[in-house]
Assembly symmetry: C2
DNA sequence: TTGACTTCGTGTAATATCTACACAATACAA
DNA sequence: TTGTATTGTGTAGATATTACACGAAGTCAA
């Protein structure tokens, strides 16, 4: 079966930059390509958009198929369309970025024995296509956005100590933050709930666990609160 | 001549939301369609991406062809790809937004007698396709971005009085600003140059004219200045 | 030429926010 | 019981934000 048009059409793909946070590392999810072009290279998960499929749906489907991940924070990043970014044909890629709670998502390679793995941002293999560039744009977006919107919580488990939240911000923003000022600021915004629980199995004083309350955040937002770290 | 592929391909277009500022109105540039679908409706300027053409290049080319505008601030906005946004076939549109100095750009309709006109944002006709939605996203982006990056100057003539800059901000942000505080803040950032000229032909005390100095801004930025209104 | 009109340009005091900074309390492990 | 690691807390000084009013400059019309 073939498809014919009166003028040339590009192919359209979606690619996803999936971020995870672990201990004190930002990580990104990559798959190892099993086919040419760039066979055996690591690449961002993604694939062709089906002809009647919404773009975001396509991105979620590809993630599900290639890595087993579903139900995650996903937002459009940028569309990359240099004429020669794919050696096969003209391919325009609508890139998304995603944030996941690492412990909730056990990744699994797709059926065709493709490798899937998390890589720390500080230690990446060479990537296929223009994916290094895509990743760079995604990092910039994350760095910019995490300061003005409460998306950081998407990277943490549901209950977390403040020190972990601070470590996350320090990692993403690439700069140290003052503990007392950070706590004062984030708690004064009044959308973190003290769960009354504390850390288990730690070899030192256990920290209180907090939970982000999206409803409270929305209420405060409607009242004019401006989130900013 | 036809083009054949082993699986279906969407068409890809670019559309541009071009903003202009005039007296005290934000305006957007629209063209009146001369063909079906949506014949005679107003629409954002745009068109199909050529098969070997970069996306931004395509956006600039379409603007040039349809409105005569070239050399303007242009930035990618968002990619719209709902399966049924165009009745003809699956069309994915990479939208851009642009800012122009109204007085520098005399628009001209394209050769095929298509109408081109500026419309105030407060008084728009019904638009073709999902262009109302695209425009809404563009307005949000402009509103968000103008506070953190000095893009407002792209909408003003090279030399402008502070009151005009303030009016621009008040219009885009949809809220009044205090004159003394606004002046204090913007002048303290030290990238506006007093041109030593004053307004001509005004029926009241003439204001000093200022000029935005991009080099100075870049220098200050490198030194850690954070633009914010 | 005078007075009415319009817009320009300016300062301060009160309040809120930001920054820098150190140590005792807690919990486990040896 | 002692050592070790991490939590949780307050304040003072500096900086930034807000609210607010009036004389100066220039044009226009009577």
């Amino acid at each position: 079966m073939t498809f014919t048009y009166p003028y040339p059409h590009p192919a359209v793909t979606v690619d996803a930059v999936v971020f995870g946070f672990d201990e004190s590392d930002l990580k990104v999810l990559l798959i190892q390509r099993s086919q040419e072009p760039f066979k055996d290279r690591w690449a961002l998960p993604g694939g062709f958009v089906e002809i009647n499929e919404d773009l975001e749906t396509a991105a979620r489907r590809e993630l599900q198929e290639e890595t087993g991940i579903s139900r995650l924070f996903l937002e459009q990043l940028y569309t990359f369309g240099s004429p020669n970014r794919d050696p096969r044909e003209r391919v325009i890629s609508v890139a998304y970025y995603a944030l996941v709670k690492l412990i909730d998502h056990h990744i699994q390679a797709a059926s065709d024995a493709m490798n899937v793995a998390w890589f720390p941002l500080t230690d990446l293999p060479p990537l296929a296509f223009d994916h290094e560039h895509v990743l760079e744009v995604a990092c910039k977006r994350l760095k910019g956005k995490i300061r003005y919107e409460p998306i950081g919580f998407e990277l943490l488990p549901e209950k977390f100590p403040l020190s972990e939240l601070q470590r996350l911000y320090e990692t993403v923003l690439e700069k140290p933050l003052d503990k007392r000022n950070f706590r004062k600021k984030i708690l004064s915004m009044d959308f973190l709930i003290d769960t009354q629980e504390i850390q288990q199995d730690v070899a030192h004083r256990a920290a209180k666990l907090y939970r982000f309350d999206p409803q409270a955040y929305q209420r405060l937002r409607d009242q004019g609160l401006n989130f900013e770290i």
